[in-house]
């Protein structure tokens, strides 16, 4: 994962709604606002956004027409999330069918909004609709940019030690997870996966992070099904990472 900024365009004619969304998201992302579909289109022509949050009912140009124009004229390929007061399953299906990636309902619940935005910006909780996108940005075994970033802060021996420790700790955590799968203790499994996910991401083991993330998402939903499968995938990604690192220049140049 690179450290490039993620920019979100918030399109809503209601100032209060814009403020609420800004308050919820502004610690994490760069935000711009527009008050109707026309302004949104102007903004998209001037700047690149990674996600667009779009209200449906707006003056000048409503959200659905704006979405249509953005897609027809290929102004942006950013996912566009509908902001709506409607919330039945039928409505949801309708919005997804016409091309919105997801929808958030008013009144906003912060956790819900953050979660949805994160899913679409960080590629978390992959669903069918994101699979095409994640195939394009295939996660790397090791993100060299992160290695370079960390290398600024110390000698190669420090970096080497960090990766050794990571491998050791992750091996330990995975064996603990394996134990826990026999007891089906999903909440403990989730906690351990959470550590692996965070650490893997921090040191740049992206494939491993992705595997832990999918597994964590599954256990958080309290789904016992396929746990074995997820565990095997995690183990496979980990073993691959370990052998990849043993051939890496960090471990060879001495």
């Amino acid at each position: 994962m690179t450290v490039e900024a993620k920019k979100i365009l918030i399109v809503d004619d209601n100032a209060l709604n814009r403020n609420i969304i800004q308050n919820i998201l502004n610690n994490r992302y760069q935000l711009e606002t527009a008050t109707n579909g026309l302004e949104a289109i102007e903004a998209i022509q001037k700047d690149i956004y990674q996600l667009i949050l779009m209200d449906i009912q707006m003056p000048e140009l409503d959200g659905i027409s704006a979405l249509r124009q953005i897609r027809e004229e290929q102004l942006s390929d950013a996912p566009i999330m509908a902001i709506t007061a409607y919330s039945s399953d039928d409505d949801r299906d309708y919005f997804l069918a016409i091309g919105f990636c997801d929808l958030v309902t008013k009144p906003f619940r912060p956790k819900n909004l953050i979660e949805k935005v994160t899913i679409w910006l960080e590629g978390k909780h992959p669903s069918e609709t994101t699979s095409a996108k994640s195939a394009e940005n295939k996660a790397s075994v090791l993100d060299e940019q992160i290695v370079n970033q960390l290398s600024k802060y110390g000698q190669i021996t420090m970096i080497k030690q960090v990766y050794e420790e990571f491998i050791e700790e992750t091996a330990q955590l995975i064996s603990e997870i394996e134990e826990l799968t026999h007891k089906l203790d999903l909440s403990k499994i989730g906690e351990k996966l959470h550590i692996i996910k965070g650490n893997a991401g921090t040191i740049g083991a992206m494939q491993l992070m992705e595997s832990a993330e999918k597994f964590e998402f599954q256990v958080k939903k309290e789904i016992e099904k396929d746990i074995r499968q997820y565990l095997l995938d995690l183990l496979e990604k980990f073993n691959y990472f370990r052998s990849y690192m043993s051939n890496h220049s960090i471990f060879k140049n001495e």
């Binding site: 994962m1 450290v3 308050n23 919820i24 610690n27 994490r28 912060p110 956790k111 953050i114 979660e115 970033q149 960390l150 802060y153 110390g154 420090m158 030690q161 960090v162 420790e165 990571f166 700790e169 989730g190 906690e191 959470h194 550590i195 996910k197 965070g198 650490n199 893997a200 991401g201 921090t202 040191i203 992070m209």
Partner: protein
């Protein structure tokens, strides 16, 4: 005794503790690692630190509880310490909840160490 400024790092992963230690030493700080939330306050009472880096998911008391106790401490040097939380937000806290717990800033995992260093330097 070194005269470097000290940062308390409450975190249960050795990987993160050691990486943070290396990076902060490079930036001329010393760190005091604490692996269990229950030990955070005790450690602050015994050591003079300039900032607290706090993982939210800690064994024992979690980072939210620790932050609230720090803010409620009768010793102003402790209660006014800047707290930077590190979190994957596993428990789904809202920003509002972080602010109410007295957390000054919060960084998401995976950690971006450049951002961590700049954030720390905003306070010390």
């Amino acid at each position: 005794m070194s005269d470097k400024k000290k940062i308390l790092v409450a975190e249960d992963s050795s990987v993160i503790i050691n990486l943070t230690k290396n990076i902060l030493q490079f930036e001329n700080f010393d760190i005091i690692p604490v692996r269990n939330g229950n030990d955070v306050l005790k450690t602050l009472e015994k050591n003079e630190v300039v900032l607290v880096l706090m993982d939210i998911n800690l064994p024992g008391m979690d980072g939210m509880e620790c932050s609230k106790l720090i803010r409620a401490n009768s010793n102003a040097t402790i209660s006014k310490l800047p707290i930077i939380a590190i979190t994957g937000n596993y428990k789904n806290y809202t920003l509002d909840e972080f602010h109410k717990a007295g957390i000054n800033e919060y960084l998401q995992k995976p950690l971006d160490y450049d951002l961590l260093v700049t954030t720390i330097k905003k306070y010390v």
